[in-house]
């Protein structure tokens, strides 16, 4: 029986080429998108599940509480893990990772000059006991056990030594210190939250010799013994903390706590915590998942609509089969097998397409994806289940309609088919609602992204280049600065602790006298040229100059440190800019006087409001040299900057970044959402229009005779278009109304995450709706033109 069903289905599909083509193409595109998104979600979901005992591995986060304000950070003191291993029996092992790239880049010299590296970490000897990454050479227990040992990843080893196999035992210099390669490991998998090019033994680091309870600069991981009660373990951690830190903290009025986080929750967990690799906001996974389901729904709807519309054509067949004794179940089976066959074909095609487009999609999604995870028993089971579910969903309703037709009506060739019309209409409305809704969402996201790229940040981010500064350059920095200015490659140069796009350091400020307010304030350590370099707007007071003392000197000599506050800071302190000038404040536990007030500028992503900011002189913590370059010919300018650089610090590679590009980096995940929305809304519109084309074709076919008669009676082409499009336009209008309502909700919900929101206005709505309407009209128009061109004598004579 099934063989027969499949055979007949196959012939039916072959016979009706338009119908099959539309369905196959629509389903294939939908399934490709669906599978690609599934692979992406699966990749994000699989993070940190490849370690043998991943369910027993936890990371510590540390919470600081002071005066009712609590702050959670992802790093902990270096004493934590040795103490826990020593004192808590539940701990099987644990390790500490010190990510250097947070602080500065590292210079590596393997005999061919210095290379600047940004993915360098120290880890203690237990690292490979906790995380069982594969070592290509070296023994897990030994590779990080001694000072000055370093493990390279395979591709790093190849980069430096040409061949991973020969790297073992080779020597290299890290910031001038000798290390020897003790092992080579496979590259970190793309779905591990850990990712470094170099892992040096923590014992090599000056802080590695004596564990301390402060500062908290280290990532700590613990592997618990099997069967450990996590709650009881957490209580013991609390005891250890009390024992070593309790008294000291109580004195300062602080409290702290160490919280356990399963290693598998790092990637999708709290995104405000610092991490080695940027995580993924789990809400985006949900959004992508919903988009994937919506696309499949649109593909299925095409099938349902076409199959029910086409039922009219098939009622003779149904009637006959019934007359010959077919039961409803048997007919149902036959029609469902048709949809199953189609789904199966579409899925096979999708897999082929997926092979081709996956590299491209990987680039958009920002993760390496492959179809490998589909080519295993679980993946194949998933696909079979998927085919079954989609085939059934697509085939069920049309099959019910078809198999339920009365044979007597069918045979009498009464082609009127009332049933299903309203279902078909609602499905069309749904399809175009989704298409327009996604498009509106895309435009709203795009609008906000454009806004963030174009809005005035309060400083000049164009023509500003950041060079890497290292503290070893402190003696030449001043002369290098003046040389850059002299060479004409720079109009202004400033050293700074951070890029202006993302300033992190937190301080406290207490205004003196009767003003009792205490404020959390972000501190920006720079030199006297920052205002000029970034073109900040001075509202009151005067810019810093060479004679002003730095914060470090000020602390030593008890001289008032001159600082610049931003407008928000003085406002929160209760002053106008003019009043603030000359006031003395306690800034980060040293006394300072306010020398100038500058206009607010965005020193963080626009998700956050502009907070209080204090700018002070201190080049001791500088990480970047900000260079304002003259307009025009950046290539030549960069070349002369490099010339200057090589004169002063020939041992350090010349690397530069443009500030505006760094700024764009802040919104990478939004850009990605925008790109994914854009791509899939386009796909949704396309599939829906294809379905519409199919539907209109059937309507046109059924009404060919009517249209011919109208034409004989003098109907013009636009009259025919009107006849064919009137019903659909009503449906599209309803979709548009629903989509706009969705868009209004979406813009509220999504833009809530931004402190600085773009005005949405009407254009995203107008553009999305009119674009889809235009495409739909073009679809209908093409079809009606074809019908109109049919010579009436052809259609009318056969009667």
């Amino acid at each position: 029986m099934w063989k027969n069903y499949i055979k007949i289905s196959f012939r039916n599909l072959k016979k009706r080429k338009l119908y099959t083509g539309i369905n196959l193409l629509g389903l294939t595109i939908a399934i490709v998108s669906f599978l690609a998104i599934c692979l992406y979600i699966q990749h994000e979901w699989s993070y940190d599940r490849m370690y043998a005992d991943y369910d027993r591995i936890y990371k510590f986060n540390q919470e600081f509480v002071s005066q009712g304000e609590s702050q959670l950070v992802s790093s902990t003191p270096s004493s934590l893990i040795p103490t826990l291993i020593e004192e808590v029996p539940e701990v099987e092992t644990g390790t500490l990772v010190f990510d250097m790239s947070i602080f500065s880049s590292v210079l590596i010299d393997a005999g061919e000059g210095n290379q600047e590296e940004n993915s360098f970490a120290f880890a203690d000897e237990n690292f490979f006991e906790v995380f069982d990454f594969e070592l290509l050479s070296g023994k897990a227990a030994q590779v990080l056990a001694e000072p000055n040992q370093i493990v390279l990843t395979k591709s790093t080893a190849e980069r430096y030594f040409g061949d991973a196999a020969t790297a073992l035992g080779k020597a290299l210099k890290v910031d001038g210190t000798d290390y020897s390669v003790s092992g080579v490991m496979e590259d970190f998998p793309s779905n591990s939250h850990l990712e470094f090019d170099f892992l040096a033994s923590f014992k090599s680091h000056r802080h590695g010799k004596n564990p301390e309870w402060s500062p908290s600069n280290y990532y700590t991981y613990v592997k618990l013994k099997p069967g450990t009660d996590v709650g009881a373990f957490a209580a013991k951690v609390e005891e250890v903390k009390e024992k070593y830190l309790g008294k000291e903290l109580a004195e300062y009025g602080y409290s702290t706590a160490f919280h356990l986080q399963p290693v598998t929750e790092i990637h999708l967990g709290d995104q405000s915590l610092g991490s080695i690799k940027p995580g993924t906001d789990i809400r985006y996974l949900y959004i992508f998942g919903i988009v994937a389901l919506l696309l499949i729904a649109i593909g299925i709807i095409n099938y349902v609509n076409l199959a029910t519309a086409e039922a009219t054509e098939r009622n003779k067949e149904v009637g006959l089969r019934k007359a010959m004794g077919a039961g409803r179940g048997q007919l149902f089976g036959q029609f469902v097998s048709e949809s199953m066959l189609l789904t199966f074909g579409a899925t096979v095609l999708s897999l082929l397409c997926l092979y081709l487009i996956l590299p491209k999609f990987s680039a958009i999604g920002g993760v390496p994806l492959s179809t490998d995870s589909l080519m295993n028993p679980v993946g194949i089971g998933f696909m079979l289940g998927f085919i079954l579910v989609v085939g059934l969903l697509a085939g069920m309703y049309p099959s019910l309609i078809l198999s339920g037709m009365e044979p007597i009506h069918a045979l009498a060739n009464k082609t009127k088919m009332g049933g299903g019309a309203w279902v078909r209409k609602s499905l069309v409305v749904f399809q175009f609602f989704v298409s327009m809704g996604l498009l509106i969402a895309t435009f709203i996201v795009k609008n906000q992204l454009d806004h963030m790229q174009n809005v005035s940040l309060g400083y000049d981010r164009d023509q500003v280049v950041a060079l890497t500064y290292h503290y070893s350059m402190k003696n030449v920095a001043e002369t290098m600065k003046s040389e850059m200015l002299r060479s004409g490659a720079a109009t202004s140069v400033a050293l700074a602790g951070d890029m202006p796009v993302h300033i992190k350091a937190g301080y406290k400020i207490f205004p003196g006298g009767d003003n009792q307010r205490e404020l959390m304030i972000t501190g920006y350590s720079t030199d006297e040229d920052i205002v000029k370099t970034l073109n900040l707007k001075v509202l009151a007071g005067s810019d810093l100059d060479e004679k002003d003392v730095s914060r470090a000197e000020g602390a030593k000599t008890e001289v008032l440190v001159p600082i610049i506050l931003n407008e928000s800071a003085v406002k929160e302190l209760g002053w106008t800019p003019e009043e603030a000038i000359g006031k003395t404040v306690n800034f980060g536990f040293s006394n300072a006087s306010i020398k100038a007030v500058v206009g607010d500028f965005y020193f963080n992503s626009m998700h956050e409001k502009i907070g209080p900011l204090g700018i002070f002189k201190d080049t001791g913590n500088a990480n970047v040299i900000l260079v304002k370059i003259p307009a025009g010919n950046p290539g030549a300018t960069l070349a002369s900057l490099q010339e200057v650089w090589e004169k002063f610090v020939p041992e350090r590679p010349f690397n530069y970044r443009f500030i505006d590009q760094e700024y764009a980096q802040l919104y990478r995940s939004e850009e990605r959402v925008g790109a994914v929305f854009g791509l899939f809304s386009g796909i949704a519109v396309f599939i829906a229009c294809m379905g519409l084309f199919g539907l209109v074709s059937y309507v046109a076919l059924r009404r060919t005779r009517e249209i011919s008669i109208r034409k004989v009676l003098g109907a013009t082409q636009s009259d025919v278009l009107g006849v064919l499009s009137a019903d659909f336009l009503k449906l599209l209008a309803l979709s548009a109304v629903l989509a706009v309502a969705f868009g209004l909700w979406f813009s509220d919900a999504w833009l809530e995450a931004f402190a600085n929101r773009a005005q949405v206005g009407v254009w995203p709505y107008l553009a999305a709706v009119s674009l889809v309407l235009l495409l739909a009209m073009a679809t209908i128009g093409y079809r009606s033109w074809k019908v109109y061109r049919i010579n009436p004598s052809k259609t009318l004579k056969s009667d």
Partner: protein, 224 residues
């Protein structure tokens, strides 16, 4: 075998009922070859449809053997329909997507006949109607008469006791029509009950009983 009591069939229009059949009382015995005649619109096809369980929307009683159709469950009625009736249509109504062989096979599939048995039944039928060479052709490749032969083969493949034929020769020229009627005669001789609706008086001569329908009523009912 079949007994109809006071069968009415009507269409409710806005102001009145339009009767298609009115007060039909009819007893059909096993082995009869009945011809229904009458002008267009007299109700011949409607009556055939009712007899063949294709139309259940009527008033009155229908007994098949001892049993009242109305009191049967859907499943029983479907089984009765499958096992007892074969249909032949004026326009042949073959399934265009299926070959001759597959068209004949279809009713057997719905009766869950095993594959071996199906093969032998179809082989016999093809042989009987001299269609062996054409078994892999599609309906569009056959002449009208050949299509109707396939239609008959399909109708009798399931070995029904009652064969219902609605204008079986209506679309055929006389030589082909004669051939078809000869086959009916043979089937009748083998014991099949046949009920045909026709316009052509000469076809009635093959039968044993002639019923004239006019305006939905039985006008005459005579044995030939």
């Amino acid at each position: 075998m079949i007994q109809l009591k006071e069968i009415d069939k009507y269409i409710e229009s806005r102001f009145q009922r339009v009767f298609i059949l009115k007060g039909i009382n009819l007893t059909i015995n096993e082995g009869e070859f009945i011809t229904l005649m009458g002008p267009s619109g007299a109700g011949k096809s409607t009556l055939l449809n009712i007899l063949g369980l294709l139309d259940e929307d009527y008033a009155g009683e229908y007994f098949f053997g001892e049993r009242n159709i109305r009191h049967m469950r859907d499943k029983e009625r479907a089984n009765l329909h499958k096992s007892e009736f074969g249909y032949i249509f004026q326009a042949y109504h073959l399934i265009d997507e299926l070959t001759v062989y597959e068209n004949i096979e279809t009713p057997l599939l719905y009766r869950n006949v095993s594959s071996g048995e199906r093969k032998s039944i179809i082989a016999d039928l093809l042989d009987r109607f001299n269609m062996v060479a054409k078994k892999d052709l599609f309906p569009a490749q056959l002449s009208g008469g050949q299509q109707q032969l396939v239609g008959i083969a399909r109708a009798i493949a399931g070995k029904p006791r009652v064969l219902l034929a609605d204008e079986p020769t209506g679309n055929l020229h006389s030589a082909q029509a004669k051939e078809i009627m000869e086959i009916f005669k043979e089937l009748h001789a083998e014991g099949t009950t046949i009920i045909q609706a026709t316009h052509a008086r000469e076809n009635a001569d093959y039968g044993t009983r002639l019923i004239n329908l006019v305006d939905g009523r039985i006008e005459t009912d005579e044995t030939i």
